[in-house]
Amino acid sequence: MDETVIRINDLSKSFGAVAAVQGVSFTLGRGQTAGLLGGNGAGKTTTIGMLLGLIVPSGGSVEILGEDMLRHRHRVLPRLNFSSPYVDFPNRLKVRENLMVFAQLYGLRRARARIDELAADLDLTRLLDQKTGSLSSGQKTRVSVAKALLNRPEILLLDEPTASLDPDTADWVRGYLETYQRATGASILLASHNMAEVERLCDEVLMMKQGRIVDSGAPAALIARYGRHDLEEVFLDIARNRKAAAQ
């Protein structure tokens, strides 16, 4: 690995008596894509929330781009971005207005040109003057991706980036993320329970269950280790406590 951009060590988070994340450690190199894969309540979103500084960990450390996120997250936040279907935009604002507000928050120069450029890339140009609330979920996802790319982030944190999208739009979004990564060398960490997505996009998969990373590796290596045909079968093995064939 050339350069580590995310270094997580022994990260944990408890909400009262519930341990949402326990002893999670991993690293992500520049230009790599890693996927947090797990069922509902596995701790994926909580992990991403801690990486972004939205959730304070109960223990462990989060280092992003060489900075301690718990102490200096404002040094790092301009260099990363985030998209999630569970976070929305003001629906009464036009798409262009929402993007302009975030362009100003990220201190972008030539904000208008950047918005036009992203709108062209993400096929949003004809939607720019529509109210965000009038868009379909697929269109909103593309707006969310546009917002996440406004500041040309070095690290993208994506929580279920293609949830609730039809297969065609989902495929299109994945393709766009691959193009962005190739062009910029950005690193991507995504949380998903879409196996095909993780298999296609990720160099490394971190299988999460009950707040822990229970296995990890390249998608092909994991599939081989469990003696399965695809990640979905590996996921089911892990969910049902079946051990890897190679073990």
Binding site: L54, H74, L80, F82, V87, P90, N91, L105
Partner: protein, 271 residues
């Protein structure tokens, strides 16, 4: 050193939040009407009460406009607090808080933007009613002169203090606390002496009343309008109390955000 001194881009981020609300107002003119509606209605009602009482009371003739002045200044406080909490609620309703707080925006910048929005909302809400009182009831609150600026400033600052405390409750308890955003401020009306002098209150209630900056403003307003004196002591004590309420409000607001980060509430705020 303030956050603005440390990072000049803070001004741009605060500007971004103001822009967001300017877009919202432009997209929804009914919101602008909502701002003006209650102050206008209150002014008209109290204007007619003043006209009626003036026919039956020599005191009211002498103190012409004191009730209209009171209702307008009361609305400065109410709109100031509403302006602050409504701006926060707009972010919660639209489930936008997580987007905001993964951007470089700092909590204190968010609080400052809410304060500016509160000031703008009270200006847009109360100034039209104050202007309309001139032709309708031959009463101009602007005759208070520089005293009006002082009273307006004190009430706006107190509105920020109360607004910050209520905003902290919204962050801590989520939309379940929404009704407090609309109702809490009215608890202060009876003890602030908006429409009557504080010696009208029972003796045991007066210390509570004097602990509120708003009381000092309304007593001060009556002194200007009836006795034609500006009581500097009242202004000084109101400002001192405001410092305490603002410090308390900012402290609770920051604490609520810290607690929200502990509980993971920012990610799901508004749900």
């Amino acid at each position: 050193m303030t956050p603005l001194d440390r990072d000049p881009r803070a001004i741009r981020r605060i500007g971004a939040l103001l822009l967001r609300h300017a877009y919202l107002m432009r997209s929804s003119p009914t919101r602008l009407f909502d701002l003006m509606y209650w102050p206008l209605l209150q002014m008209v009602v109290w204007g007619f009460i003043t006209v009626f009482l003036a026919r039956h009371s020599s005191w009211m003739v002498q103190a012409g406009g004191v009730l209209i002045g009171a209702v307008l200044l009361w609305d400065v406080l109410v709109r100031g607090q509403f302006g602050m909490t409504l701006s926060l609620l707009e972010e919660m309703w639209s489930r936008n808080l997580a987007n905001l707080f993964v951007s470089p925006l700092r909590t204190i910048e968010f609080a400052l933007s809410l304060m500016i929005l509160s000031m703008l909302r009270s200006l847009f809400g109360v100034v039209p009613a104050a202007l309309l009182a001139i032709p309708l009831f031959a009463y101009s609150i602007f005759d208070l002169g520089p005293a009006l600026v002082a009273f307006w400033a004190v009430l706006t600052m107190f509105g920020w203090g109360v607004g910050l405390v209520i905003s902290a409750a919204l962050i801590r308890f989520g939309l379940a606390a929404e009704s407090y955003a609309w109702a809490s401020i009215f608890v202060l009306a009876p003890v602030s002496g908006v429409y009557y002098p504080i010696d009208t209150l029972p003796a045991w209630l007066r210390p509570i009343s004097w602990a509120l900056p708003s009381t000092h403003v309304f007593e001060g307003m009556r002194a200007v309008m009836i006795d034609h004196v500006f009581r500097w002591g009242l202004l000084g004590s109101a400002l001192a109390l405001n410092v305490i309420y603002l410090a308390l409000g900012i402290g609770l607001f920051l604490l609520a955000f810290r607690s929200a980060r502990q509980r993971g509430a920012l990610l799901h705020a508004g749900e």
